[in-house]
C-alpha cells in the first residue's frame, strides 16, 4: 500500500493525458456494458426458462389454431399437473404503434402454472368473475397511466367481433414478476369472453402450456403429448420452455455475433491506443525510473509499479463506464429488453479491463525492469 502514492503520482504526472485515456477507456466500457447487456437480455430468457413447463403448439406453425378439446386430452396424461390456454390477441392501445403483448387466457389455470407472476388473490378472483376483466403488468399500467378499475379499449385488427363492437376491458388487477429482469408489460384478458365475442377461429387456441410434475420426465411427457395427436388433422409439436425461448431468440438475428464483432473492434483499437501511450509514458520517465533504481527500488517493484498504474487506470475507468451503462438501463429497457444490467456483465467487464491493462503495460513494464541505470542517467 505504500506504493499507492507513487502510483497516483505517476498518473498525475500528465493529468490531462491520464484523464483523456480514462475517458477513452470509460467510453469503450460504456459501449461494452450496453452491448453485452443486450446479449445478456437474450440469454436471460434462456436462464429464466422453467424446466417444468411444456409448450404445445400446432405442428403447422406457432400461431396456427388448435381445437380447445386438446386441453382435456393433455390434462388426462399421467404426470401433467395442469394445462393453460393462450392465444395471441395482438391488441394495440389508441394507435397501432402502441402494440401490446396481449394474451387471451383462463386466469386460474394460467396463473397457477406461472407462479412467478404475482397477483393478489382477490384480483385473480375478480378476473375470474368479470368477463371483460383484464390483468396487466405494473410497468404497462404505469406507461399509460392505468389504474385498477379503469376501462380501456383496445384495437385488435386480427379479431373482428361478431357484433362489430370494439374490444373493451376493465382492469381488475396488476401483476408483478420479481424473478425476471425483463419488463413487466403483458396484458391478460379472459379467454371465455374473447372466444365468445370473436367472429373467427372459435373454439380454438394457439398455444397450450402443460405443467409437468417431474422435470426429469418432461421430454417423455412431451413425446406422449405429440403421440396423442399424431396422424390427426391437428398434430402438435411440444417443446420445453428453454427450447421455445431459444427458437424465438435465434430467429431475431445473429445478435451475439454482431455484438462480439463490435466489441472486438473496439477493444482492439483501445489496446492499440493504450499500449502506445504507456510505451511513450515509460520512455519519458526513463530518468525517473533509473533514479528510483539507484535509490534502491528493485527491478521487480518498478515492473509492478508500471503494471499497477495501468491496472488502476483501466479498472477504475471500466468501472465508471459500466456504471454509466447500468444507469442507462432502466431508461432503455424497452429497447434492450432488460430492466437492469446483470452482475455477470460487470464482472466480466472488470476482468476484461484487467487483461487489457496487462496486455498494454507488459512490454513497457518489462523494459523498465531491464533498464540499465548508468546508461539511462547519462542520457544514452
Amino acid at each position: 500500500m505504500r506504493y499507492a502514492p507513487l502510483v497516483w503520482a505517476g498518473l498525475r504526472r500528465k493529468s490531462l493525458r491520464s484523464v483523456l485515456i480514462f475517458l477513452a477507456i470509460a467510453t469503450a466500457f460504456l459501449l461494452y456494458g450496453l452491448l453485452q447487456g443486450v446479449n445478456a437480455g437474450f440469454g436471460h430468457a434462456l436462464d429464466e426458462a422453467r424446466v417444468n413447463r411444456l409448450y404445445v403448439m400446432s405442428r403447422v406453425s406457432a400461431s396456427e389454431p388448435m381445437p380447445i378439446s386438446h386441453r382435456a386430452d393433455i390434462a388426462r396424461l399421467p404426470g401433467v399437473t395442469g394445462v393453460a390456454v393462450m392465444t395471441w390477441f395482438r391488441g394495440y392501445y389508441r394507435e397501432p404503434r402502441n402494440a401490446l403483448q396481449s394474451f387471451a387466457i383462463e386466469p386460474r389455470a394460467f396463473f397457477r402454472l406461472f407462479p412467478e407472476l404475482e397477483v393478489a388473490r382477490a384480483q385473480l378472483d375478480e378476473m375470474a368473475r368479470t368477463r371483460d376483466g383484464a390483468i396487466v403488468g405494473r410497468a404497462l399500467a404505469q406507461q399509460f397511466g392505468w389504474r385498477v378499475g379503469d376501462r380501456v379499449t383496445l384495437g385488435a385488427p386480427l379479431w373482428p367481433r361478431t357484433d362489430g363492437e370494439a374490444w373493451r376491458f376493465r382492469i381488475v388487477g396488476l401483476y408483478d414478476n420479481h424473478t425476471t429482469a425483463s419488463p413487466i408489460t403483458n396484458f391478460f384478458l379472459n379467454y371465455d369472453y374473447f372466444d365468445e365475442a370473436r367472429a373467427t377461429q372459435k373454439g380454438t387456441v394457439q398455444l397450450l402450456v402443460a405443467g409437468v410434475r417431474d422435470p426429469a420426465r418432461a421430454p417423455a411427457t412431451a413425446a406422449a403429448i405429440d403421440a396423442l395427436f399424431a396422424n390427426s388433422p391437428d398434430e402438435t409439436r411440444t417443446q420445453g420452455e428453454k427450447e421455445w425461448a431459444r427458437a424465438l431468440i435465434s430467429q431475431i438475428a445473429d445478435v451475439r455475433f454482431i455484438v462480439t464483432a463490435i466489441m472486438a473492434a473496439v477493444f482492439f483499437t483501445l489496446l492499440f491506443l493504450t499500449a502506445s501511450v504507456v510505451m511513450q509514458s515509460v520512455r519519458e520517465r526513463r530518468t525517473e525510473f533509473a533514479t528510483m533504481k539507484t535509490l534502491g527500488f528493485t527491478d521487480a517493484s518498478l515492473l509492478g509499479l508500471v503494471l499497477a498504474e495501468t491496472m488502476a487506470l483501466f479498472v477504475s475507468a471500466a468501472a465508471a463506464g459500466i456504471g454509466a451503462a447500468a444507469l442507462a438501463f432502466p431508461a432503455m429497457q424497452a429497447l434492450l429488453g432488460l430492466a437492469r444490467l446483470p452482475a455477470s456483465v460487470t464482472l466480466t467487464g472488470l476482468a476484461a479491463a484487467a487483461l487489457l491493462a496487462l496486455a498494454s503495460a507488459l512490454v513497457p513494464a518489462l523494459r523498465v525492469r531491464s533498464l540499465p541505470i548508468a546508461a539511462t542517467l547519462s542520457g544514452r
Partner: protein
C-alpha cells in the same frame, strides 16, 4: 494569402514527417476506421432492409388491409369484404377480370438450412390475376403452380434459407403434402416467401379470410376512386394505400431502430476515438515542439501552425475513413441477413453499403479528426517559443 501559403508549407512538412510518428498516427487511423466500419455496417443493414421492402413498391399498385393493421401480420379481410373490394371502381381490368389478388398470408414451421433449427417461413396465396399484377416475378426453375392444387413456388432467398424446398420436395402440413414445383425471383422481399394458389391455401390451412388485397390501379390517380368506394362501406373496416406508402411504413420501424442503434453505437465509439485522437495529436505536437518553435521563430504565424495540425488530423481521418469504409464494403456488401423483424416469418435481405452511408462515415471521421486536433493545435500555437526551443 500569406496564411494559406504558410499553412500549406507547414502541412507539407507535417505530412512528410508522419513516417517518424507512424505508431501514434496509426492509432488515429485505426481508431477512426473502426468507428466508420461499424457505422457503415449497421447503416448497411438498415439500407438493405429498406431497399428490399421498397423494391416491391410501384406507384400504380395499391394494397388493402384491415383498418388499423400495421402489416399483414395483424390484418384480416373476410371473404365477402374481399369480393366487394375486387369489384371496386378504379382497379385496372383485363377484360372483365380485375388485375388484383386477394391474398392469405401465414407462416409454417420449416427447418433452417443455416443451423438446422426450426424456423418459420411465410406462405402467401395469390389470386388468378397475380401474374399481370406482379410482372416482376419470374420463374427461374421448374414451372408455375396449377390453380387449385397443393403446389408451391419458392422465392430465391427462401430456397437458400430453408431446407426441404427444392423442386420436387414436399412439405407436410396436416393431412396434405405441398409439392414444390418451381423457384422464382422478383427482386424484392417476396423472394423470402413460398407462393401458392389462394383458394388452395385457404382450404388447406382451414382459413376463411385473407390478409390483404393487392390491386393494380387503372392510373396512379385512381387511388382516390378506390378509396371513396371503400369508404362507402365503413362496416368492412378496410383501408387502401399505395404499395409504396405501405412498404415505407413497414420498413420505417426497423429502419428507424437500426439507424438509432447505428448512431448510438458509433456515437459512443466516436467519442472514444476523439479522446484517443486528442491524446495522439497531443503527443505528435509534443514530439515536434522544437520544430514548431523553430518555425514560429523564423516567422511562421500561429494560425499557420494551427491549420497545419488540423490538416494533418484530417489527412489521418480521411485515411481512417477510407480504411473503415473499404473494410465494411468488402466484408458486408451483399452479405445476406436473415431476420424475423416482427413479421410472420424470416425475411432475408442483402446488406447494402450505399453512397449515403459512406458519406456519413466520412463526415463522422472528419468530425472526429477535427475535434481531436483542436486542443493540441491550440496549445501548440500558444506555447511560448522559447520553451519549445529549449527542447531542441
Amino acid at each position: 494569402m500569406a496564411l494559406l501559403h504558410q499553412a500549406f508549407a507547414v502541412t507539407a512538412l507535417n505530412l512528410r514527417s508522419i513516417p517518424q510518428r507512424i505508431g501514434s498516427s496509426l492509432v488515429v487511423v485505426i481508431g477512426i476506421a473502426g468507428v466508420v466500419a461499424v457505422l457503415v455496417a449497421v447503416l448497411a443493414m438498415a439500407e438493405g432492409y429498406r431497399r428490399s421492402l421498397l423494391a416491391s413498391g410501384r406507384p400504380d399498385r395499391a394494397i388493402v388491409l384491415r383498418a388499423g393493421a400495421a402489416s399483414e401480420l395483424t390484418s384480416l379481410i373476410p371473404r365477402e369484404a374481399a369480393a366487394f373490394i375486387l369489384d371496386a371502381p378504379g382497379i385496372r381490368r383485363d377484360g372483365d377480370e380485375p388485375v388484383a389478388s386477394a391474398e392469405p398470408v401465414l407462416s409454417i414451421g420449416v427447418t433452417s438450412a443455416r443451423n438446422g433449427e426450426p424456423t418459420d417461413a411465410a406462405v402467401r396465396g395469390v389470386g388468378a390475376g397475380f401474374g399481370r399484377l406482379r410482372p416482376e416475378l419470374r420463374l427461374t426453375e421448374g414451372r408455375m403452380f396449377r390453380p387449385g392444387t397443393r403446389e408451391l413456388i419458392v422465392g430465391r432467398a427462401a430456397a437458400t434459407e430453408f431446407r426441404g424446398v427444392r423442386i420436387g420436395e414436399r412439405l407436410r402440413v396436416r393431412d396434405d403434402a405441398w409439392t414444390i414445383v418451381g423457384h422464382f425471383e422478383s427482386g424484392d422481399a417476396h423472394e423470402s416467401e413460398l407462393v401458392g394458389d389462394a383458394d388452395a391455401i385457404l382450404s388447406g390451412f382451414r382459413r376463411d379470410g385473407y390478409q390483404s388485397v393487392t390491386l393494380a390501379l387503372a392510373s396512379p390517380a385512381a387511388l382516390g376512386t378506390v378509396r371513396t368506394a371503400l369508404a362507402a362501406r365503413p362496416d368492412l373496416g378496410v383501408e387502401v394505400r399505395t404499395e409504396r406508402a405501405y412498404l415505407a411504413d413497414r420498413a420505417a420501424g426497423l429502419t428507424r431502430l437500426l439507424g438509432f442503434v447505428a448512431r448510438v453505437v458509433a456515437g459512443i465509439m466516436a467519442l472514444g476515438a476523439v479522446f484517443g485522437a486528442i491524446v495522439t495529436m497531443h503527443a505528435a505536437v509534443d514530439a515536434r515542439a522544437a520544430e514548431i518553435a523553430t518555425l514560429r521563430a523564423i516567422g511562421f504565424g500561429a494560425g499557420a501552425i494551427i491549420l497545419s495540425v488540423l490538416a494533418e488530423a484530417i489527412a489521418l481521418a480521411l485515411a481512417g475513413s477510407m480504411l473503415g469504409a473499404a473494410a465494411a464494403w468488402a466484408l458486408f456488401n451483399g452479405h445476406a441477413v436473415s431476420t424475423r423483424a416482427g413479421g410472420f416469418a424470416q425475411i432475408m435481405f442483402p446488406l447494402s453499403v450505399s453512397g449515403g452511408s459512406l458519406a456519413s462515415g466520412i463526415a463522422w471521421a472528419l468530425a472526429i479528426g477535427l475535434l481531436g486536433a483542436l486542443l493540441p493545435a491550440w496549445s501548440a500555437a500558444r506555447r511560448p517559443i522559447i520553451v519549445g526551443l529549449r527542447q531542441a
